[in-house]
Symmetry: C2
Subunit: 502 residues, 2 copies
C-alpha cells in the first residue's frame, strides 16, 4: 500500500528538530513573555492584547510571513481589574483569599457589610430570594455548599498516565449539544437569580470554590462579557477554605463583616475578537497553496497568568514553528500557526475562524480553503508532555500516526487512540470536516490545581515536558507538510456546531 | 517486678474513654472556636487573647477547677493587623499573594513604588546595601533566591508513617545550644541588615518563600516583638511564585511597581504573656497533691488560624480533660492542662511556667512542686493521629508505655521509641528533670503545606485523627494519675536551657 511507504517519517529531520530543541530551546523565554510579562489574558482584556501583539511581533521577528491579528467576530467588553482588595473586618481583621469574577461590576469604593449565607439550594430558589430580599439588602451574599475534603492530599497532585490508562482511553471532555443547551439554560437561570440579588440591593455575590485544593481559588464566569449583558453586581470567587470558615462562623452565631474594593475598567470601544495568525510559506510551488495548521488558545481566565491553560499550548506551537523555520527544513505545504481568542467562553476564536475560512454555519457549505487544509494540530491539556494523539475517530489515521510517533517512543509518546477528546479548539475544525487533533498529554496537576485557578502561573510549567511536546508537534506538522497527499478525512456531518449559541 | 503488675492499664477505663470520644466528640466545635472564631493567635495579639479567654471559660463551664490565665513573664508588644492589601500596579494590575510579617511596621497609607530585586547574597552583604542605598530609596525591596521546584507535586502532600519509619525513628527536631547561638547571631545580623534598608529609605522589605508549595505563603518572624525592638520597616512574606514572577520580570527588563497598605495596631499597655491553666483535682486524698500535666501551645503565626500548629494540640488536650472530667473517672492525682503562649518565638510560655514552678534557671535548684509532677504530655506535631510516643531517652519508660499503648494497636499506635524529639514545649519540662513527652504523630501535610503557612486553617484538620489522639492522651494521662508511683525520672542535667536568650 502506497500510504505505508509514504508515511515512513523522515527520521533525520525529526532528529534535527529534537537536537535543536534540546540544545537551544526558547520555551522558557516565550513562556515568560506570554505569562509573567503579559499577565492574565482574559478575552478582550489588556493582558490578552499585550500577549497577542507580542506574539505577532515575535513571530515576525523569527521571519514568519503574514504574522497578524485576525478578527474572528464579535466578542464583547474589554474588562480589566484596576484595583482589588478583600478583608474580613469583623469579628476580627484578616485577609481573605478571593478574586473578582471576570466581568464583575465594580464596588464604587470600599464596600463593607455583613455576610449573608446562601446555600446552593436557596440560591436556586427564586422564591427564597424574593422572600428574603430585605435580609439581603446591604449585605455581601456568600454562596457556599459543603466542603468536599476527601483524601485528595494522600494522592499526588500531579500524575503521569499509566500504560494501562493509555491503552484504554475512552472519549473524554465531549460535550453534547444537549449539554450545551442545559448550560445555556443554566446561564439564563443564573442571570435571573443574580438579578434578584441585585434587585434586593445586596452589595454583591461571593461564590466559594467547590473542591478543596489547598487554598487554590477557581475563578471563571459564563456570562457578563457581551455588550448586551447588564453590568450586574460585584461578584467574587473565594477559596473554599475561607468560604467554609465564614459559613461555620455564621452558623455558630458570629456576625461576619467583610470589606471589598473592586475597581474595574470596562470598555466597548472595540468589541471584536482577534486571533494571532502567522505562516511559514510552503517551499513546494505545487503544494504551497495547501496548508497545515497548528495552535492553541491564547486567552485565559483572570486570576493567574494562564500558564498551563493555555500559554503552554501557545509556547509549544510557537516554539514548533520557530524550529521549523529556523532549521530551514523547507516544509512543502504552508504551515500556519493560530493562537486563539475566546476559547474559555466557548471556542469563539477558532469557531469564528473556521466559519470565516472553511464552512458556513447554516448551509454547511465548505470553501476551497477547506479542501486545501490538510490538518489542524492543537495543544491545550496543560503542561504535561505528549503521550500520543487522538485520531478523533478517524481510523484511517491510526497507521499513519503510529508510524510518525514511533521515533518518539523513548520520549514516552506511543499511543494512537481512535477515541475522541473535546472541549478545545480542534473541535471547531473537526466540525468543518477537517482532520483535527488534540495530543494526549500527561495530566500532571492540571485538573487538581492549575486549571482555571489562581495557581496557574509560570512556576507550574514543566519546561522539559513542553520541550518534548514542541519536538513532537514540530515533527508531526513537518511530516503533514511533506506528505504526498492531504491527510484522509472523515465524512462531513453537517451538524449545528456543538457550542453554537453560547 | 512490681512495675509489671502495676503498669497493666485499666482497659475498661480506656474503653470507656474511647467509646465516649467516638460517640460524642466535641473536637469539631472546640476546633471551630479556637480557629475560625478566634482568628490567628499570634502571641500578644487580640486573637491569642480571645482564644485564651474562650478556653478558660470553656474549661470552667466543663467544671474544671482553677481555670485561669497565668502570667509567665515578659513577652512584648501586642500587634494586630488592622488593614492590608497588596497589588501589582505596573506593568499591569494584579493581586499578589503576600501577608504582613508579624510585628511589621505599618505603611502609613498605600505606598506605591518600584520593586528593587535583592538576592540572598546581596542582602547578607552589608557593604552591598550601603553602596546601593541610593538605589533602594523609595523602593520595595524584594528578597528572593532561586525557586526550588523539584518534583514534590508527584508525591502526596500528606503521608502517614510507614512501619519501617516507625521502627527506625531517630532523634528529630533537636536544636543544640550551638544552633541557638547561631540563630541569635543570625537575628542580630538580620536586624542590622534591615536597619541598613531602613536607613536607605526603602519603602519596605518583601521576603519570598523559599520552597514551592502551590501558592502557600510561609509567614513567621524572629524579631520585632520585644518592647526594645525598633518599629523598623514594613515587612511582608510573599508566595514564592509571585516572588519569582517579579524576579523574572525585573530580570527581563520590566519595571515592576507594587502598592502596599499595611495598617497595624501596636500596644505596650500589657507586655506580659499568659498561659491557660485548669485542673481536675485528684480524687485520692493522699495523691491529689501530685500532678499529671498535659498540653500544647495555643499561640500561632499570623497568616492563618494555626489549626494544625497548634490548635490541634489544644483541641486534643482540652477534649482529653473534658472526657476525663465528664466520665467521672476519678483520677487519683490532680490533672492539669496548660495551653502555652509564645511557643513559636522560643517555648516562652512553657519555659516561663517551668522556671516559675519547677526550677531556677541559674541555680538549677528544683522546687517541691517539681518533685510532685509525675509527667507532662505534649501534642504539637500537626493534625496527624498518634502512632506512639518518644520516651525522650528515658529507657525506664519503654516497658510502661508499651503496656499502656497496647490497647491502641488497632488505632495504629504501637511504637515506643527511646529517641528524642524537640522544638516544642515538653523540652521545657525535660530541662527541669520532669518526665515529659511528645507523642509520635503521622506527619500528614504538616511539613509540606500547613506548618507556619497561610493554609493552616480548620479545613486542614483531620477530625478522625484528632479523636484518636484525644482517646490516647486521655488514657495516658489517666493511667499516670492512678499509677502507684510517679513515673521514673532521668538524672537532672543542670544545663542552660537550650532556648535561653531568645
Amino acid at each position: 500500500m502506497a500510504t505505508f511507504a509514504q508515511d515512513e517519517p523522515d527520521t533525520s529531520i525529526f532528529n534535527k528538530i529534537r537536537k535543536a530543541e534540546l540544545n537551544s530551546s526558547q520555551i522558557p523565554q516565550i513562556a515568560h513573555y506570554l505569562t509573567d510579562v503579559s499577565g492574565a489574558r482574559l478575552a478582550g482584556s489588556k493582558g490578552y492584547k499585550h500577549a497577542a501583539n507580542w506574539a505577532v511581533s515575535k513571530l515576525k521577528s523569527w521571519g514568519l510571513a503574514n504574522a497578524r491579528l485576525e478578527e474572528w467576530g464579535d466578542f464583547g467588553k474589554q474588562w480589566d481589574i484596576e484595583d482589588f482588595s478583600i478583608t474580613m473586618r469583623a469579628p476580627y481583621v484578616t485577609p481573605l483569599r478571593a478574586y473578582p469574577t471576570p466581568w464583575s461590576a465594580g464596588t464604587k469604593g470600599i464596600q463593607q457589610g455583613v455576610v449573608y449565607l446562601l446555600s446552593p439550594q436557596q440560591y436556586q430558589d427564586s422564591s427564597y430570594l424574593t422572600q428574603h430580599a430585605a435580609d439581603l439588602k446591604g449585605k455581601w451574599v456568600l454562596l457556599t455548599g459543603n466542603a468536599n475534603k476527601g483524601d485528595a492530599k494522600f494522592k499526588p497532585a500531579a500524575e503521569r498516565l499509566a500504560d494501562t490508562t493509555l491503552a484504554n482511553l475512552k472519549d473524554q471532555y465531549m460535550a453534547s449539544r444537549a449539554d450545551i443547551e442545559r448550560e445555556i439554560k443554566g446561564v439564563a437561570l443564573y442571570k435571573k437569580l443574580d438579578g434578584l440579588i441585585e434587585k434586593a440591593s445586596a452589595l454583591g455575590l461571593i461564590i466559594a470554590s467547590r473542591t478543596n485544593a489547598d487554598g487554590a481559588v477557581f475563578v471563571q464566569a459564563y456570562t457578563g462579557f457581551r455588550v448586551s449583558d447588564p453590568e450586574g453586581i460585584p461578584q467574587l470567587s473565594m477559596a473554599i477554605e475561607d468560604g467554609q470558615r465564614i459559613k461555620r462562623m455564621i452558623s455558630s452565631g458570629q456576625q461576619v463583616e467583610i470589606a471589598v474594593n473592586i475597581k474595574t475598567q470596562t470598555s466597548t470601544a472595540d468589541t471584536k475578537g482577534y486571533n494571532v495568525v502567522a505562516e511559514i510559506p510552503g517551499a513546494d510551488p505545487k503544494l504551497k497553496a495547501e496548508v497545515v495548521m497548528l495552535g492553541g488558545h491564547l486567552d485565559s481566565w483572570s486570576a493567574a497568568t494562564g500558564a498551563t491553560d493555555n500559554a503552554a499550548g501557545c509556547v509549544v506551537t510557537m516554539e514548533a514553528v520557530r524550529l521549523l523555520d529556523s532549521l530551514g527544513l523547507k516544509p512543502k505545504r504552508t504551515i500556519r500557526i493560530a493562537l486563539w481568542d475566546g476559547e474559555e467562553e466557548g471556542l469563539f476564536g477558532s469557531y469564528g475562524y473556521v466559519k470565516k475560512h472553511f464552512m458556513d454555519s447554516k448551509t454547511f457549505k465548505t470553501t476551497k480553503e477547506q479542501s486545501k487544509l490538510s490538518a489542524y494540530f492543537n495543544l491545550d491539556n496543560g503542561t504535561g508532555k505528549i503521550r500520543g494523539i487522538f485520531t478523533q475517530n478517524n481510523a484511517a489515521l491510526q497507521s499513519i500516526f503510529t508510524k510518525w510517533l514511533k521515533p518518539f517512543a523513548d520520549l514516552g509518546a506511543t499511543t494512537v487512540t481512535n477515541s475522541n477528546t473535546g472541549s478545545t479548539d480542534h473541535i471547531s475544525f473537526d466540525w468543518a470536516g477537517i482532520p483535527a487533533f488534540q495530543f494526549i498529554q500527561d495530566p500532571l496537576d492540571y485538573e487538581t490545581r492549575t486549571h482555571h485557578s489562581n495557581l496557574d502561573d509560570y512556576d507550574h510549567l514543566q519546561m522539559d515536558d513542553l520541550k518534548q511536546a514542541a519536538i513532537i508537534v514540530a515533527s508531526f506538522v513537518y511530516q503533514t507538510s511533506v506528505r504526498s497527499q492531504l491527510l484522509p478525512r472523515k465524512p462531513l456531518k453537517k451538524e449545528v456546531f456543538v457550542f453554537e449559541g453560547l
